[in-house]
Every structure is written in structure tokens, then in C-alpha cells.
Amino acid sequence: MSTPQSAFCTDLPARKPVHRNDILNVKETHFSATTPTRGAAYIMTEFNEQNALEGLRNLDSQAIGAVYDQYFPEVYRYVRYRLGDDTLAEDIASDIFVRLMEASQKKQGPQTNLRAWLIATASNAVNDHFRRSYRRPVEALSEAMPDGGPSVHSEIDAREKQRLVQKAMAHLTSEQQHVLALRFGQGYSIEETAVFLEKNVNAVKALQFRALAALQRQIGEVNYE
């Protein structure tokens, strides 16, 4: 039973203050699974996910900041990989974190695996974006070919190739795009990808094979066009 005084002071539900050190332990740990640079061990602070989730529910700034710092680069890379657009990736990635806060308030947020929730939400957000784009196709601006030396030409060639692959990838199914983004965009291992996709490893291996085969076909078709 709350005291009268506490009843007067209940603007916000009583919340346990979450200190940044409760979320991020000062001890540094190696996480090879979350490497932004493939193959290299990624040094990061240990992240206390339960404290972070508690802080998110209370809209604690420290907790939100810690979660953002921890996961934004991964989410951004994922979205950027699938869309091939920096600006869009920035908007959609930050929007994922707003959705995370809203879901936490509605008690529909992640209960355990925060990263999986973020990536799954990012995947859905990208799919939504594609659906909207299909309904309202936007003519891409023609890229002017700047004059320049061989290095410039090679860079343009590389960009053009990336653009073709991006275009080809857009013809894959959402699941195929998702597995490629996780495996090659994020650099997750086949086991981690299996966790994200909630499939067994063999199923992911098969999906990965079919996705690459489909992409190869689509690149050929895009080249032909």
C-alpha cells in the first residue's frame, strides 16, 4: 500500500534507476560473432541485456543510449545492405529503435534476445519499404558519368557492379535476401544465422545455397537487360 506521499508523487511508475555500468560492464570481452569487420575479433563492452530491457521499459535515457550504441551499427549495416541506400538506412535504422521503445512500453518488446528482435524488425521494415516502393515506383536518378582517369573508371565500374547486384537482389524473396544479409552483410556464422532465422543449420545451408543461386541468375538477367 502506497503512502499518501507516494500517491502524490506517482507521475511516473516507480522505476529502478538503471546505471550505465549496470548495462555495460567495464570488463571488455571479445565477441567474434558481432564483428563489423569480418574475421576480426570485435572488442566491446559486456552488455547486460536484462538491465537494458528493464531500462527500456522505464524509458531510461541511459539504457536507451546503451542499447543504441550497442546495436545501431548492426541494424544500420543490415538495412544498408538490403536497401543499398545510406540515407534510407539511417532513417529506417533509427526508426527501428523508436519502434523498440514503443513496443517496450506496450510490453510487446523483446523479452530475451534483443539483437534478434532488432534484426527481425529491421527485416520487416525493409520488406515494408519494398512493398511501398512497388506500389509507388520511384524513377532512379540517372547517374552522370564523370570524366576521369582509370581509377575513377574502376570505381565507377565497381559501383555499377554493386548497383547491378543490388538490383538483382531485390528480385529475391525476402527470406533469401534476409539470409544473404545476415551471412554476407552482417558476417554472422551459419549457426548465428540459424538462430536469427529460427531454423536448423542444414536448412539455413540449403537456403543460403538457393539464395546465392537465385542471385546469380538475377545478376545474369539484370546484365542481360
Partner: protein
């Protein structure tokens, strides 16, 4: 087929470790043709991987997210406040209003207690008095309270007279004298005019009445309505000595006035028992005893007199003998031009000896009640004055018998 998937995964891992495509394909020569385009595509797919967000992107995204969090916190706080505070706020506001009303009304009533008729807050004072009476359920206490309020009406009148203010007044009292158009009600001189509404006439001395009228600058109340009050109506308690004095005057004066009215026709307006207005501007001189003093109004032998323009000698005080010179104005009020207060109540003047002596006797004794109430022994005390004996014999004839 699983072999192809496994082979692809192993090849991908080798490539990730830095192995060359051709080297990797040599691990699975029978699947090399099938794996080659897949592995080449995987390289393309891997090349698409973007770097991490730039510091600017990180900063912008962070501030956007934290700003959104702040907005959500504010919205949540407002919702919580609304949920909790609507009934709470209503209760607090109600309490505040009640307290404010109580405090303001208490202050208002306190401020109104010193007001006089004609003041803005005077109705508050009267209403508060009514409320007090209404919530006094003990009959005795209620009667005392009503008497107290009637006394307050008289006090207000005295203050109005002292300040020379004109205001509508309303007071109750006993008619102690009736001198033509000038009555004395609870020692307050009341002017009866042609416009006065007299309820239940005739009203005689000794009747309890309620007077409504307007105070005049000369220290009288111009009556608008006089109504007789029923028995048991609370009346103000006038000063005991004065009331006794008035009572004695009334008991004797009723007879005296009737008798002396005829006599005084010849004796002139100076007679104390029934002062009669003389023609206006005619100078009159008389002696008497001061019944009461209200500012510039002095009641001598029951006759109100205006002394505002008078030359005053001696110390004005109730009960002292005075010699008065003045005249009656058009309204019948005696305007004093000269008044001399005499200590000790010695024999007054020569112009109306009968009256003077009788009054002098009263004041020498200093106790009219004794004159009226006591037996002839008191008369003997006053026997040194032959005139007094006559008066007292008349006054107390019934007692003596």
C-alpha cells in the same frame, strides 16, 4: 544434395579465412562446376557489405532516438498525471475553494463587525447576525443574542449621530416620551413627520416599537415607519440608571404631562415634563437634568436639544443639572445657544420653579428610583425643599396610601 550445401558452407568459410577461390574449389573437384558460380556470387554479395555508420549518422540517429524517448516520457508522465490527478486535483480544488470561502467569509464577517448602516459591508453584518441567531437553538441564548443585536443597533445610532452621518436605520425600543412630533425611543430622539407610517396607532409611552427611519444631522431619527412590537420581542437594554430614570419619568410624566399640558400652556415651553415647542426663533431659557448625551444632541428632561452651536459651560455629563438657553427651530427641535452644566444639582432657575425644583430634587437625591419606589420616609429626606414635597406627594401618593 546436402553435400553441396555443406561443401558450399565449407568453401565460404575458407574464403572468409582468406583462401583463394580456385584453391577452395580443389577441395571439391566433382562439385567445382556447380560451386564456382555460386562462390563467385557469394563474393559479389560479400562485396556489397557496407561499413558501419559514420559518426555523423550515429550522432543523428542517437539524438533522434533520445528525443523520441523524452517525448514518450513526457506523454507517459502526462497520462500518469491525468490518471492520478483528475480526482485528486478535483478534491484539492474543492478543498481550496472551501478553505478560501471560509477564510474570505470569516475575514468578511470580521471586517463587517465594525460597520455602520450605510456602509457597503453593513448587510454582511446583519446577515451574519441573522445566521448566528438561526443557528442558536437554545432559546435563552437566542434571546440574549437578539437583545445583544438590538443593543448593537443603538450603538450604531450613537456612532452615526457622533459622526453626523445620514443613514437608514432600524432599531427597537420602548417609547419613553412623546412630545408632539418628537418621541424618545430607547433614549433616541425620533421625529415623527406627516410621512411617517404609524402602524397600529395609537402608540403610547411604554409601548415597545420598532422604528425605521433616517438619521438626521441634528442627532434625531426621522421616522419612516414605527410599528408596535408584540410582547416578548427582544428590546435593547438601556443603561440601568437611565432606564430607571426614564421609568420614573414615565410613571410620573404621564400624569404630569396631562396635567401640566394644560398648566404649561401658560407656563411656556420651558416646562420640563412636557416641553412644548415655542414659536420658531423665540428665545427660551429653561433648567433641567441631562438624561443623556449623544454627540451634539443632549436630552434634558426628556427633550432632545441640539447643542452643536451652543456655548457650553461646565463639564457635560449625564445626570447633571443644566441651564439651557435657545429656541425651537421650524421642525420643533430645540436649538441650544447656551448651556451651562452644573455639578451638584443645585436649584436651577427661576423661570419654572415647579419643574426645576422637582428635577433638582431628583438630582440632589441622585436616585429617582428611591423617590418612586420608597415610602414617605424618602420624602422626609427631601422635606427641606417644600417644592419637592409637593411633587413627591403627587408622585408617590399612591404608594403612601
Amino acid at each position: 544434395m546436402n553435400n553441396v550445401y555443406d561443401a558450399l558452407e565449407i568453401c565460404l568459410q575458407e574464403i572468409e579465412k582468406g583462401a583463394d577461390l580456385e584453391t577452395v574449389l580443389r577441395l571439391y573437384p566433382d562439385l567445382a562446376d556447380e560451386l564456382r558460380p555460386i562462390l563467385e556470387t557469394s563474393v559479389e554479395a560479400r562485396n556489397m557489405a557496407a561499413g558501419g555508420p559514420t559518426p555523423d549518422v550515429l550522432r543523428r540517429g542517437r539524438s533522434r532516438v533520445l528525443q523520441q524517448a523524452a517525448q514518450m516520457r513526457e506523454a507517459k508522465a502526462q497520462t500518469s498525471r491525468r490518471l492520478w490527478s483528475v480526482p485528486l486535483r478535483r478534491t484539492l480544488v474543492s478543498l481550496a475553494v472551501i478553505v478560501a470561502l471560509f477564510v474570505s467569509s470569516t475575514n468578511l464577517v470580521r471586517a463587517a463587525t465594525t460597520t455602520l448602516p450605510g456602509d457597503n459591508l453593513y448587510p454582511v453584518k446583519r446577515t451574519w447576525e441573522d445566521v448566528l441567531v438561526m443557528f442558536t437553538f437554545n432559546m435563552q441564548a437566542r434571546q440574549l443574542l437578539e437583545v445583544e443585536h438590538e443593543n448593537e443597533r443603538l450603538e450604531e445610532l450613537y456612532e452615526l449621530f457622533a459622526e453626523g452621518r445620514l443613514a437608514k436605520v432600524d432599531f427597537a425600543g420602548t417609547v419613553t416620551r412623546q412630545n408632539g412630533d418628537l418621541w424618545l425611543v430607547s433614549k433616541v430622539p425620533v421625529v415623527i413627520s406627516a410621512g411617517t407610517d404609524l402602524r397600529d396607532p395609537p402608540i403610547l409611552p411604554g409601548d415597545a416599537v420598532r422604528v425605521r427611519g433616517v438619521t438626521q444631522a441634528d442627532g434625531t431619527v426621522l421616522a419612516e415607519r414605527v410599528e408596535r412590537l408584540s410582547e416578548g420581542t427582544p428590546l435593547p437594554v438601556v443603561d440601568e440608571d437611565d432606564s430607571l430614570e426614564n421609568a420614573s419619568e414615565l410613571s410620573g410624566n404621564e400624569n404630569e404631562s396631562e396635567e401640566q399640558d394644560s398648566d404649561d400652556d401658560s407656563s411656556g415651553p420651558g416646562s420640563a415634563g412636557t416641553p412644548r415647542p415655542a414659536p420658531a426663533s423665540e428665545k427660551v431659557s429653561l433648567d433641567g437634568v441631562v438624561d443623556s448625551i449623544h454627540g451634539t444632541l443632549v436630552v434634558v428632561n426628556g427633550q432632545p436639544m441640539n447643542i452643536s452651536g451652543a456655548e457650553i459651560k461646565g463639564t457635560p455629563s449625564t445626570g447633571t443639572t443644566v441651564r439651557v438657553e435657545g429656541y425651537y427651530d421650524a421642525s420643533g427641535l430645540f436649538i441650544v445657544t447656551k448651556i451651562e452644566f452644573r455639578d451638584g444639582g443645585s436649584d436651577g432657575g427661576s423661570e419654572s420653579d415647579d419643574n426645576d425644583d422637582s428635577n433638582g430634587n431628583d438630582n440632589v437625591d441622585g436616585n429617582q428610583a428611591n423617590d418612586n419606589d420608597n415610602s414617605a420616609g424618602d420624602d422626609n429626606d427631601n422635606s427641606n425643599d417644600s417644592d419637592n414635597n409637593d411633587d413627591n406627594a403627587n408622585d408617590n401618593s399612591g404608594d403612601d396610601d
